[in-house]
């Protein structure tokens, strides 16, 4: 599939949004869905539906096969060693909560330290904060530098003899910084530290290879990967998923239940309690196939071109101040406009059909550090074009006009 014509695969771009063609620049928040994904959800519910992993009738077996096919596709896509290292969750948030909670139950003790960064999304901070409250675990922060980046030197500096876990983002959803996760993992492992990566922004935009990266956990948000909402993936090394306790109890995750004794099921069932987001899992297979048909190298090149173009465009626009100029930057262009609050920017852009996000993007620690209450963020996906970024810039100029800026 050619990336140049990819917009035609997404039905939403046929719609008029408030009489405008949609310029969708909010993919870091959530991506639009290709027709194949929406169609699969419909097909499953209308022609193939059954619960999975329980009954023995024809539909149940067929649905179970579809469900497990997605697990195999994800395993292949991220090059995990074992299919059972792929756990479905209700989102990346739940995946990170699962890791923090179960490490807290079995592995971490009072006084242990977790190292995160000032770039982290709240979902890779608050779950660790729970452990700070319940187990007296200390949280340290690697500092963001002037480029909006985290240096491996600062990570190294913040590691102490008590550091047990390093939990970091792969790609910042505000500055776009792509962190050197492989180097950080190597460093951490040389000191016996567990590595948890928040891959929400990494997975949709970067090539993933779990065996090469060697991290212990990697959390994925499926709705940012052109897939359904309500679904995440937790990659976890088999030895950890086997050793750690379950996260939630219920049907499907048990082996045997007696009045005085309960034993838990094998992987991955152990972590998939209750009826899962079945239709979403099954449709997510189409997202993976869709991305594979374009090719991650092509996606990366396309988005890198867009970021370069957008950065140049906005840098030339006086009054616009870009946030973060990391050496390796993903498809995120966060900015402020002198004298105009980001919410006013977003409302005015919306009127031109340009959808961006304004606010702190669930990164209050970072915005406090930058000493701004909020920022405006344009983020790209595979369907965006340079024309979209031109429209962004035109709309920013309209914003300046309304606010009487030069």
């Amino acid at each position: 599939m050619k990336i140049e014509n990819i917009k035609t695969e997404f039905p939403i771009f046929d719609e008029k949004i408030q009489n405008n063609d949609l310029v969708y620049l909010d993919s870091a928040n959530s991506s639009q869905k290709p027709k194949v994904v929406a169609d699969k959800i419909n097909e499953f519910y209308t022609k193939q539906f059954s619960n999975v992993g329980r009954s023995v009738h024809y539909l149940a077996v067929a649905a179970t096969n579809l469900y497990e096919n997605t697990r195999s596709s994800v395993q292949k896509y991220i090059n995990a060693k074992d299919k059972n290292e792929i756990v479905f969750t209700k989102g990346a948030t739940e995946a990170l909560n699962l890791v923090a909670n179960t490490l807290g139950q079995k592995y971490l003790n009072e006084g242990d330290e977790i190292l995160i960064t000032e770039l982290e999304h709240h979902s890779n901070y608050v779950p660790w904060h729970f452990l700070r409250k319940s187990k007296n675990i200390k949280i340290n922060f690697a500092e963001v530098n002037d480029n909006g980046d985290i240096s491996i030197e600062d990570i190294e500096k913040k590691i102490t003899s008590k550091t047990k876990v390093i939990a970091i983002t792969h790609l910042s959803n505000v500055t776009g910084a792509i962190l050197p996760v492989k180097e950080i993992t190597d460093l951490a492992h040389s000191k016996g530290i567990i590595v948890v990566i928040d891959g929400c922004q990494g997975a949709p935009h970067l090539k993933l290879d779990m065996q090469d990266l060697d991290c212990d956990f990697y959390a994925i948000s499926c709705h940012k990967m052109y897939g359904p909402t309500g679904l995440g993936v937790l990659y976890g090394k088999k030895k950890w998923l086997e050793e750690l306790p379950p996260y939630q109890g219920g049907g499907g995750m048990i082996r045997e239940v007696k009045k005085d004794k309960i034993s838990y099921g094998d992987l991955p069932n152990k972590y998939e309690a209750g009826t899962m987001a079945t239709a979403q899992v099954i449709a997510f297979d189409q997202s993976i196939k869709f991305m594979e048909s374009i090719g991650i190298e092509n996606i990366m090149k396309h988005e890198a071109d867009l970021v370069e173009y957008g950065q140049e465009l906005l840098q030339k626009n006086n009054s616009v101040k870009l946030i973060g100029s990391p050496k390796n930057k993903g498809g995120v262009l966060s900015f402020t406009l002198e004298g105009v609050h980001p919410h006013d920017i977003a409302t005015i852009l919306d009127e031109d059909g340009v959808a961006i996000r304004a606010g702190h993007h669930c990164c209050q620690i970072l915005h406090d550090k930058l000493n701004i209450p909020a920022s405006a963020r344009a983020s790209v996906g595979i369907y965006n074009t340079k024309d979209d970024l031109d429209k962004l810039n035109d709309s920013i100029n309209n914003c300046k006009k309304i606010f009487n800026l030069k």
Binding site: H341, H343, T347, I348, E351, G359, A374, I402, F403
Partner: protein, 154 residues
Amino acid sequence: MNLKELYQEIILEHGKNPRNLGKVHEFNKDAKGHNPLCGDNVHVYLKLNGQKIVEDISFEGSGCAISMASASIMTDLIKGKNEHEAKEIVEDFLGMIKENPDLKSEYLKDDEKTKLMCLSGVKQYPMRVKCATLSWHTLTSAMDNSKEITNTES
């Protein structure tokens, strides 16, 4: 067209040069407000005298043009009103932003009503209504001496 209604000259002017920004000297009532969706904060200060008249009122905070202009216009016209009048005006304003086509309170002069109606453009932007109402909810908390932070999400 809609944008012009939302960002009228008076809103932009109050947003840029908000009146009564700062802390009232010897205030005796205050409250904080917070909008977690956009991170906007506002702190409203009041000085009520023995006759329960708002002798002075001010606010601190940062936010979008709508929220700053709303707080600025609010403090301007609440000054000098008594507590009862102020509460009725708050209710009238919130009712107008929510559903009523116009303002009804007899405590508002015509020119004050005209000024407040400049904020009515926000009705067409449901996500922005909270920007216009945060300072008003916070004023109510201050008058009630509530210790809790006013939160647009609760």
